[in-house]
Amino acid sequence: MTTYSRMQFLDGANITSSGMIIFHDFAFSILMFILTFVIFMSFISLSTYKHMRLFKEYSFNMLEMIWTLFPALVLLALGVPSFLMMYFLEGELKGDLTVKAVGHQWFWSYEGNDLVSFDFDSYMKLDDSLSMGDNRVLEVDNSLVLPMMTKIRMIITSTDVLHSWALPSMCLKMDAIPGRLNTMNIISLYPGSFYGQCSEICGINHSFMPIHVEFVGWKDYIKNLTSM
């Protein structure tokens, strides 16, 4: 979860989000290098402009070669990992388990029909019912429990207006659109609880429909399902 002291991204909870964080850091280092280099060179050329007549009198083929090839290589270095990440994120539509998240004004309801049919609404906990250590406007009364290390096909839809189901620590965000069953895959590599918020303005209580997903081991998941 994001807190005030945090300087960087949330820790990635699956491979795609870790990959995106690595790509961001990599691209950022290249961008910082370019920025410093350009500022440095502009400073040099402004302060020594009297010597610039050298460029008019002589030709520097090697230098021209370098300043043509270097940006091309930089673009290649940015482009190749970017495309790799893009195709990696597309994923497949297979899943070992299907869970449906339906957006309502203003709560989420979750359904599943695989082993045991379940259907519940998850409302935000009000300030009065929070216990010590709970996160305000992030805690819900019924959280979604999912198994870790499993490819889960998440179907996102809505019944009234546009909503968006988001889980930032997994780099996931999918719009909930009435009439569409948007599909995405979730694989969590760690157990734990992950928070998200509705990310598409959906009315007056848009800020008060959080998402809380708990990832547990497979045996605990079965136990939880059968007790539901």
Binding site: S18, M149, I155
Partner: protein, 103 residues
Amino acid sequence: MGASIYFILVSVLNYSVKMASMEERIKYFRTTPFDPRFPQCNQARHCFQDYLDFHRCEKVMTEKGKDAAPCQWFKMCYESLCPSEWKDRFDSWREEGIFAAKI
């Protein structure tokens, strides 16, 4: 960034180790498989088609006087894809005779 690389390595290793217990999971769970007719992100048509297939299958099987048990496959598929609200709506349309396809 170092932490991320470490996480990725550990995750990949963990994942390859845990894949062995996949058989155990399949024993418990059966969900709608990937359908090459519906490769897109929007699975609404897939849900509709499976619902239609189930009712067509049931109708044909009962007309021929055969066991309708194989049709349960389509039922499992549409139940795991369609939200319950959609299913209820389809059912009411079918009862009223205004369902959007010929069953």
